[in-house]
Structure formats: C-alpha cells, structure tokens
Symmetry: C2
DNA sequence: CAGTGCTGATGACATTTGTCATCGGAGTAA
DNA sequence: TTACTCCGATGACAAATGTCATCAGCACTG
C-alpha cells in the first residue's frame, strides 16, 4: 500500500533525474528532495541534450524537466525519452505555463505538469504519483488549456508567424521561407484575422501567450 | 576577521529576506540557506509589495530580491527599501540578466547582482559579502553591461517604445500617450534609427534585449 | 467522383507606416 | 545671449503592409 508513496523504508527509492539550467534551483531542489527518503536524485543536467545523455547513463524512473532550457526544451527532451527509454516517466516544471505547452507536453507522453509556484513537498508527492503511474496537471493550467482550445492556425501560418516574431519585414520573411512576398502577406493576414489581431506583430504576441508559437 | 564571513558561531546571524514568486525556488533556497549557521531567513515574500511589507515588519539585514516579480520588480523594491530602510542592503537574483537591468539596479543602490546559475554556496558567500558592506556583480553580466553602454533613447522614445511593445497600431499608441499620431511616428522612427532597427517592432526587441525597455 | 481545405501565387487597392523637412516652445549649459 | 537638445506638431512623399478577389495544384475524405 505504498501507492501514493509516503516514505517507504524498505522498498527501493525512486530514481530521479533533475534538469534545469538554473543551477541555484537545481541544486536547491536536489537538496530538498534528498530529505525524502523514498526519492533519490541520481542525475542532474543543465541543458536539453545533457538531460538526454544523463538519462541514458543513469536510467532514472522519473525525469523532472524544466520547460525552458538551452539546447532543447523540456517537451522535446520528453519526446526523445519516450522513444529511447519508454520506462522513464517524464514530468515538466515551468515558470510560466502556457496552455499550448501543456497540450504539447501531454501529447508527448508527459505525466506531470506543474508550475514553479508549488512547494517542494507538493513536488515530492507529485513525483511519487507520477512514478506510480499516475498523472498530475496543475488545476489552474488545466482550466486555461481547456478554455483556450486548440490553435486555429495552419502549419504555414504558424511557421510564418515564427519567422515574423523578431519584427522582420515581409521581404526578409519571404526570403527565409522561400516564398513570394505576396503569399507571405496573405498567410500573415489570415493568421492575424484568426487571432483577432490588428496586425502580424500583435498576432505574434497573442500566439505566444497561448503557447501556439 | 569575519569580514568575508565564514560561519561565525557566537556573533548574531545575518537576517535575510527572500523574495521570489516561484514558491519552489524560494522554499528550496530558504532550506539551503538554513544550513548556513551565520544566516537566518527571517521572512519570505512572493511579490514586490509583499516583499516591502515583510521588510518593514522584519527589518532584515539583507534583502535577496528576484528581478521578475508580480506587483513590483526587484529594482523597484530595492529603490523603495533604500529610502525606507537605509540600513537594509539589497541584492538582485535573476534568471536572464540584461545589461540595462544591472545598471538600473546599481543606481538603485543594489549591492549584489547574480544570475540564477550560481550555486547556493556561492549565493551564501555573496550574501555575507553584501552584508559586510561589499559589492558583488556577476563578471559576465558586468562585462555585458560595460560593452553595451547606456541607452541612446530619450524618455519619450522609451515610453513610446513601451506602448508599442504589444504590437498596437500607431493610432492606439497616440491615443494612449495623448499625442498626435504624426508625433508618435516621428519618435518611433527616431528610436528605430538609433537602434538600427528595420521598424519599431524590431526596435522593441532590441531595446528589450538590452534591458532598456 | 465531388467537395473541402491547405498551399502558393498574382494583381489591385486602401491603409498604415517610415522618412524627411520644417516649425515653435521650453529648458539648460557655455 | 547663443547654442543645444528635447518635446510636440504638421505636411508631404515613398515604402511597407493589410485586405480582398481570384486562380491552380494537391491531398484527403465522404
């Protein structure tokens, strides 16, 4: 009856991988989790690729991944882990959770999605839940994701919005996408209309805020 | 001879205020710092205003402030603290440190400026340094700040860039600033020219990246 | 097969935006 | 005083952008 996993005693501890580019957070987290007798941090990583390498080397039961990391973001790492180490459960921890990120994460097989506003105790519980095969999604983020719905944008619209994200003029976007300038304007106009934005720049902002970028 | 402050033993501990909106980090940090015998976390806050209130109530020696917080950012809090509690030293911890932020912080009387990539040990040392009256600035950020130079923008240019930051059309910016649309275009054009940007949206990006926004 | 939606393009047109010259007033430093 | 910069505005013009209609190929689906 250790399903929800209060400290166990005799059973083997849960092997945990921590990946976060902020050393301060990662170290502090590792220290806190070390107090939980049934959890053991077996590896730490500061970037996406490093997280993958560490996971291959140390075979954790649960990988706790920051969403924003250099190299590859948490969801990308989770996707790779899913195919490489199917037994490794994954969960995402993030500062600003956007609805779209949650959707992407869930379809990547991520079993936990929590904001950094939770306490360490709570995180430890969630790690146990995930390890036991359960799922946990922050209620507030879940509500946002449900009410937000899916992205109304097509693939090209999304791609062109990304290229427009840095404020580049149409000509440059067209060149980088190998498309006609007129075509680019059409797609961006369409995207802005779908998002009820006044122009493509506002559209970029809106798409970003929804995690559709 | 306790200047750099190795654990002291008999002298009174340094009273520390921790302010960070991410509960996970704040709690973990508090736990880690509690191992340092000469440091004592006497208050925690999750927002700018709360940090101010806590500081008034608990009179910390050193306030460790996150740069990005709801309500009021770390530099704003530091400015208020400087006038309200001149004896309270302040330091800023941040995820992404932009050159302009560092400059603003230093002119607000902040004595420490560190990225979240430092270790907890390092942070503890820096807290001691700051408490002893010293200063500490992350070398990399300092180099960036020096090479970046000051903002070339005038007050109005900066203000209008801020209003333009969400992608709003000129008309809306003009209305919100109570200025003529033509005037707005002139200022934004001037700002874009100073930043070598192709248009105002790219200018916003550049100004943001320098912390001039 | 017909219908639908995404893609990619073109042309036309109106609007927005960027750029420049110019003006006047206020404040400030030499 | 003079010179300088910033502020705020106007007018004119060119360039970029947004919008719309229209076309064609392709893939998919009922």
């Amino acid at each position: 009856m250790n399903a929800q996993g209060q400290p166990a005693g005799d059973t083997a501890p849960v092997r945990v991988l921590l990946a976060d580019d902020e050393h301060l957070i990662r170290g502090a987290l590792a220290a806190l989790l070390s107090f939980e007798e049934d959890l053991r941090v077996v590896a730490e990583a500061a970037s996406g690729p490093e997280a993958l390498a560490m996971a291959r080397a140390h075979r954790p039961h649960v990988a706790v991944l920051d969403l924003e990391m250099p190299g590859a973001d948490g969801v990308t790492v989770a996707t790779s882990l899913r195919s490489e180490l199917p037994d490794c459960r994954t969960m995402i921890v993030t500062g600003h959770g956007r609805p779209g990120h949650l959707k992407r994460a869930l379809s990547a097989g991520v079993r936990g999605f929590v904001p950094k506003t939770v306490s360490a105790q709570r995180l430890a519980e969630i790690i146990r839940t995930v390890h036991a095969g359960g799922r946990y999604v922050d209620p507030e983020l879940a509500a946002d994701a449900i009410s937000a719905g899916d992205s109304p944008l097509t693939a090209r619209e999304t791609q062109l919005l990304e290229l427009a994200a840095n404020g580049a003029p149409i000509a440059e976007i067209a060149e980088r996408a190998a498309l006609s300038p007129g075509t680019v304007r059409n797609y961006l106009s369409s995207a802005a209309a779908k998002l009820s934005a006044e122009n493509r720049h506002a559209a970029v902002r809106i798409a970003r805020s929804q995690g559709w970028l």
